[in-house]
Point group: C2
């Protein structure tokens, strides 16, 4: 069985300019070959799940409630599941009531429903740059005008968010949504500082903003820390999207939206039009998992795996990367965000990387505006540490050769990445 | 556990005019009480599933492929599942290749993705009247202009479809989609005759139409007959939507779309924006079920159950209904469509019916234009035969009293149903 399938890869392919999407797609199609170390897919390491416990849970659901598990359910999702999800949120300090929640098919459906509910063609959304490719997909499928706000090691530059809001207002338009992944952001691997969270909440009040807070990675902090959610600061101004993809398993396709009542009602109607109801079976597996199993221990087991892999990757990057390459240092989550020197285009480089048996996602996949040509995302969650070291070594050798080539041809003044603009909105990176 | 939850009920509530949706919703909220015989929900009788076989299948999936089952998958759906679905289609005589299919979260997501792909606000869709409330929901969430084509005992009046096409063209507009449920239609309980299928295919060619063929009930014919699908007649002009909700279980939330390649590619992109990918777990359960279990025997078992219930309902209707009430005679599927005499409004009657401990769905829920006030849908798939007889007796007594009241007040000239138009597009019914 192929394990390294990642539904995002297709999406990246469709977003990466400069090459034809079909070329990138063709490249990604070989990523699952065993000889390639793939840092491309953002996949949880599901093999760390306790499958004997999973089997107990599933057998129990079918034996005790088979006829319900295989029947239709309600559009908002099962109350029993919503109670468990409220408990998961409480564990992270996010306030919610069971009535506030709509169960969705993964966090992705939450983003899609919110986009469908709020976005008319041309509506402005402000989002971190870079940002989650799935959110770009959902927003752009409703023809949102996504504008990026630069980040640094403390997450979104909230001062620059304020400037961006001012520019939108100066055009006589409004900001429909502010989209943020405050914890261990995908793809940047950084978190929004506590101070900035408070400032973001203030801005939401001052400018009458609706914040779309996406939190897949909040419980994957390597030290077990949690940070105040935007929802906890300004609950009436936040639509919160959660998922069990990283705390339990993405295959359960179970996420949720917590929203003010009027929004929740609209989301339920839209979800009924979209797919009627979430599967009872997966809902009951998830609710039984969280109600009867030591799920926090399972999360700790996942975090241990990811921490070791992150440390391995960071150590390997420090050893193997040539001068001028920089990267972020994650304190949780799945990702390291890498910036390469002038003259290297990460979309163009992908074919050579795959020939060298290592894969990543080119940076342009994470921007709506074509920037990111000098950046790339590495995901350490899936390959084991030995493979991570091997992959980083291959990437380091490739970048070293590539930079020598650039210098040989252009000297000290290489051309810019093919996107015709340097990623002004890149994350400030730590050097290598 | 409540078994009689039906996600459609909320939808009906939002579509039934004349009463406030909240009132209808409040009425439906008591439908699941054990003293009420509910003919409202369109639910398969999942208790007839062989749950020990289901448990074997699920255990096998988790033991043999747990890490895959709980991981992300591809946006088009698993090839292994698509192969099984092609086989199911082949069994019904519907041609398809594994590459043509996109796996969806139930048939409903297929309808939503097609609507999102093709419908801009105001686009004209021609559909049977009455038609499936979930399709109305998906189409109207994209602001389609749905116009109904009357039906009779042989399904959609294709001659009137041609007239409707002419009227749309006379307005200088085009018909974006023709939506049809050719087999055991929901809610009318009738099937499109073979002759009309050929004529529909011809019209599609003549007028360059795209047909959206929705086929949840094709394998539920009481005599095991199958009829030529529109897809088999004009494959390039048909988007075909299937589901395992009635052949296996709705809780698996597994459906599919078979479409020409260019459309399929767009649908995959839209589905990735919508919810990334279908759950691997439910996909693997379904593919293993169809690959390893005698699924056709299971379908036969379902059909036996539904046939007995349909016969029970039809016999009870003949005994209990007062003069002037007419109904359709299903040869498969879940539904009997009832037309009541002038003077009775089926939306207004629902409260009295629930007081009399019987529930149905008022006819207006199945039209986009407010007609259907003199019609109602009875679903016989879920209650057992004794309950069906009891429920029909209650409904017969209620309608008898109601018609006596109407005659006492209005004599022979009662007012029309509150929708200010008689359902011109009603199905020709067989008398009682």
């Amino acid at each position: 069985m192929r394990l390294d399938t990642d539904p995002y890869l297709e999406r990246y392919a469709s977003r990466v300019r400069g090459m034809r999407a079909s070329e990138i797609r063709a490249l990604f199609s070989v990523v699952s070959r065993p000889e390639v170390v793939s840092f491309a897919g953002g996949m949880p390491y599901t093999a760390a799940l306790d499958f004997s416990a999973v089997e107990d849970v599933v057998t129990r659901v079918i034996r005790e409630s088979g006829a319900v598990a295989f029947q239709y359910g309600g559009g908002q999702g099962r109350p029993e599941l919503r109670e468990q999800l409220v408990e998961v949120m409480r564990h992270e300090g996010v306030p919610a009531h069971v009535d506030d929640l709509v169960v969705t098919v993964g966090g992705q459906q939450g983003l899609e429903l919110v986009a469908k509910c709020f976005i008319d063609p041309g509506d402005v959304v402000l989002a971190e740059g870079p940002t989650y490719v799935g959110a770009l997909g959902a927003l752009s499928s409703h023809q949102a005008d996504v504008r990026h706000v630069p980040m640094d090691a403390d997450g979104m530059r909230v001062d620059l968010l304020e400037e961006a809001i001012g520019r939108v207002h100066a055009e006589g338009r409004r900001v429909e949504l502010v989209y943020t992944i405050p914890n261990h952001q995908n793809p940047a691997g950084v978190s929004l500082s506590v101070e900035r969270r408070h400032r973001l909440a203030e801005l939401a009040e001052e400018h009458d903003l609706l914040v779309l807070e996406d939190n897949p990675y909040g419980l994957l902090d390597f030290e077990g820390r949690t940070y105040p959610s935007i929802r906890s600061l300004v609950p009436d101004r936040v639509i919160y999207v959660g998922t069990v993809s990283k705390t339990f398993a993405p295959g359960a396709r179970t996420g949720w939206v917590a929203a003010p009542t009027a929004v929740r009602d609209k989301l339920v109607l839209l979800r009924e039009a979209a797919d009627l109801c979430p599967p009872n079976l997966t809902q009951m597996i998830v609710e039984t998992w969280f109600a009867t199993q030591p799920w926090q221990d399972q999360v700790k087991r996942f975090v241990e795996v990811y921490r070791e892999r992150a440390e391995t990757m960071l150590a390997a990057l420090a050893e193997e990367m040539p001068d001028g390459v920089t990267w972020t240092v994650p304190a949780g989550g799945f990702y390291v965000w890498v910036t390469v020197p002038r003259g290297v285009d990460t979309s163009d480089l992908l074919a050579k990387a795959i020939n060298a048996r290592v894969a990543y996602v080119p940076g342009r996949g994470f921007y709506g505006d074509g920037s990111g040509g000098d950046q790339l995302r590495l995901c350490y969650s899936f390959p084991d540490p030995a493979r991570i070291r091997e992959g980083v070594t291959r990437l380091g050798e490739l970048l070293t050769r590539e930079l020598e080539l650039v210098r040989a041809v252009y000297g000290d003044r290489p051309p810019d990445a093919a996107d015709d603009r340097r990623s002004g909105s890149g994350v400030a990176s730590q050097g290598g």
